[in-house]
Amino acid sequence: MTLGPIFGVLFDGVAYGMLLFLLSVGLSVTLGMMNFVNLAHCAFAMLGGYVTVTLINVYGWPFLATLPLAFLAAAIASVALERTLYRRLYRASELDQVLLTIGLTFMSVGAAAYVFGTIQQPVQTPSYLRGSIGFLGASFGVYRLFLVGVGLSITLLLAFALEYTRFGAQVRAAVDNQRMARGLGINVDLAFAITFALGSGLAGLGGALAIEVVGLDPAFAFAYLVYVLIVVSVGGLGSVGGSFAAAILLGVTDIAGKYYVPQVGAFLIYLMMVVLLMWRPAGLFGRR
């Protein structure tokens, strides 16, 4: 028996979805927790990407070793920004938060163009991650298998942490009802700071992993913001499971659309998003 092309398409879609999930989960949880609109989220992803590129091209690090660094760099940057700028705007209007974070994104785009130039960053992935594996007639890209593996592991880690650790319980409480959580003595600010760092770190990791699939240049911070927002809104704010489902759905729709109906492929995601949001405005797994 051979698998039809649809399996290849589904697999590619799921792999792409994993990438979107890594890029989006942080934003979903922090938006759900503190209602802070951080549109600079993809700038952190871009930072992770550039860290990886620099470590590989300038310092000769192996690809896998750079991934934790990408995560850390983005997490640290987010902590720094949170302490200095974001903290002052927790009580501000959402529009002001939008303006601040968009301004920061602009700055990151300009800075990236200045430091790294406008060129597409070339990254040679190690040979064991290249090529594809044939299985029952369908070919599965090795790198995409790697992506799926990383994505699933992180999802399981996050789900486990949320469900079975005390910190996870605090995060869930803060997302559900911030005031009550504070009233119960939970240090919501600390929980938020840690969650924010984690989420941004994951975005950085996503950015580093994305280079091989979609490339890296200074415009990355904007280009992916739209997709991340789609995942977050379709999935439901504050929900890891929602982000996961929405990301997979989006990835599969995009890839399948491009494969089967290339003329309309690109805008199938938007159509799907509009329809889904009209049906469930709070997102697939959202509350409210």
């Binding site: 130039g117 597409q120 070339p122 490339g215 280009a223 997709y227 491009k258």
Partner: protein, 392 residues
């Protein structure tokens, strides 16, 4: 200080002051309009580098006048912004000519301004046929997609291919490439087994490359624009394992550029690109050009660089011919029919159409030493744009 020295000092000052405006009249201002930021920033960078290199090598004085560049950013495809920038350059900055133009919509919009204000306009990259007809003061130093597509179509048939599946990006240059390739290939007797237009946004080509692979055609023709897409395309190729020895893969040179080859690696051997320039071209002039470019900018030049470089050469030569006169009529008359040897090979501005006439080469990716290079395997000489060739 005695009176005489004060008087002579004053006289000297008066002389200097009076020569001030004369010096100012000795400047030629060129307004350069390109998308320095945004999606096409890298192509603009390469073009700008070409301009800078030419000026470095040839000085900034021509026909007794100093060349001054004023750069403006359109941010991407923005004909209304490009129109305004051109208008301001002319009314506010008093430029004598307009240059640059990476993107066709912007070039088309500015052509109207160039025609109205009667300013010489040098199109250094935009590749749509119709642009050159929109202002009688414009010349083009880049290439046109229809000329490349038609050449590729005819050559494909000549090389033995009878069935082709085409994949192009879904915007005007892509459609130009597709239509011209189809026409030339079918005219020669070949059959187009299928075609697809890939959306410009979100360049993840895996689905399209997979589909092409599943269809298993005899040959594939591809066009994607320079920038982020060739690298992404390369990655998709590497991942899907598209085998150039089983399927003949033909594309335009901007799709199969350096970043593409780097990303595909060894499986790229055998891939054919049809284009007017590649930094690997083995002529003395090109080798010198590439070496100078490497030294100055630490990267390899591409067709954008050579478009900017040759564009400046056209400007300098035209100014020399007019003796420094900068009105549109004199300059365009001087530029018509210009021929010279460029790093890309023979270069000519057609005296009738003001469009570029050049050789288009067929190159194949070959293993040279321990690297991969695009090596010329065939050449079509003096190619004119098929659209404008028939018109004025």
């Amino acid at each position: 200080m005695d009176r005489r020295s004060i008087l002579s000092g004053a006289a000297a000052l008066a002389l200097l002051a009076s020569s001030g405006p004369a010096l100012a009249q000795g400047t030629v201002k060129i307004g350069v309009i390109m998308p320095y930021s945004g999606q096409f920033a890298d192509l603009a960078t390469q073009m700008d580098n070409g301009i800078k290199l030419y000026m470095k090598q040839n000085g900034d004085t021509v026909a007794g006048k100093k060349i001054e560049l004023i750069r403006k950013d359109t941010g991407g495809v923005a004909p209304d912004v490009a129109t305004r920038l051109a208008q301001e350059l002319i009314t506010r900055d008093n430029v004598d000519m307009l240059a640059g133009f990476t993107l066709s919509p912007n070039a088309i919009a500015v052509s109207k301004v160039s025609a109205e204000a009667k300013k010489f306009m040098v199109i250094m990259n935009a590749a749509t046929t119709v642009i050159i007809t929109m202002s009688p003061y414009s010349v083009r130093t880049s290439m046109t997609l229809p000329s490349v597509g038609a050449t590729a179509g005819a050559w494909a048939y000549k090389s033995g291919v009878r069935k082709v599946y085409t994949m192009v990006s879904d915007f005007a240059p892509g459609k130009d490439a597709e239509v011209s390739f189809h026409e030339a290939f079918k005219k020669a007797g070949g059959e187009i087994v299928g075609s697809v237009r890939m959306p410009m946004a979100n360049p993840d080509f895996s689905a399209f490359v997979q589909r092409a692979k599943d269809l298993n055609p005899e040959s594939i023709f591809i066009f994607v624009p320079a920038g982020a897409q060739p690298a992404a395309l390369g990655k998709a190729f590497a991942e899907r394992g598209l085998d150039a020895s089983k399927i003949k893969i033909i594309g335009t040179g901007d799709a199969f550029d350096e970043s593409f080859v780097k990303n595909v690696g060894n499986p790229a051997v055998g891939i054919i690109s049809v284009w007017h320039y590649d930094f690997n071209d083995d002529t003395k002039l090109n080798k010198a050009f590439v070496a100078a470019y490497n030294a100055e900018f630490k990267r390899n030049p591409d067709f954008g660089s050579v478009g900017g470089y040759d564009g400046m050469h056209v400007i300098y030569e035209a100014l020399k011919k007019t003796g420094g006169k900068t009105d549109g009529d004199s300059l365009v008359a001087a530029a018509k029919g210009i021929t010279f040897e460029s790093p890309r090979g023979p270069f000519q501005i057609d005296a009738q159409t003001r469009d570029i006439v050049q050789n288009i080469s067929i190159r194949q990716v070959t293993k040279v030493g321990d690297g991969l290079r695009s090596v010329v395997i065939d050449k079509v000489e003096n190619v004119k744009d098929p659209g404008s060739a028939g018109k004025k």
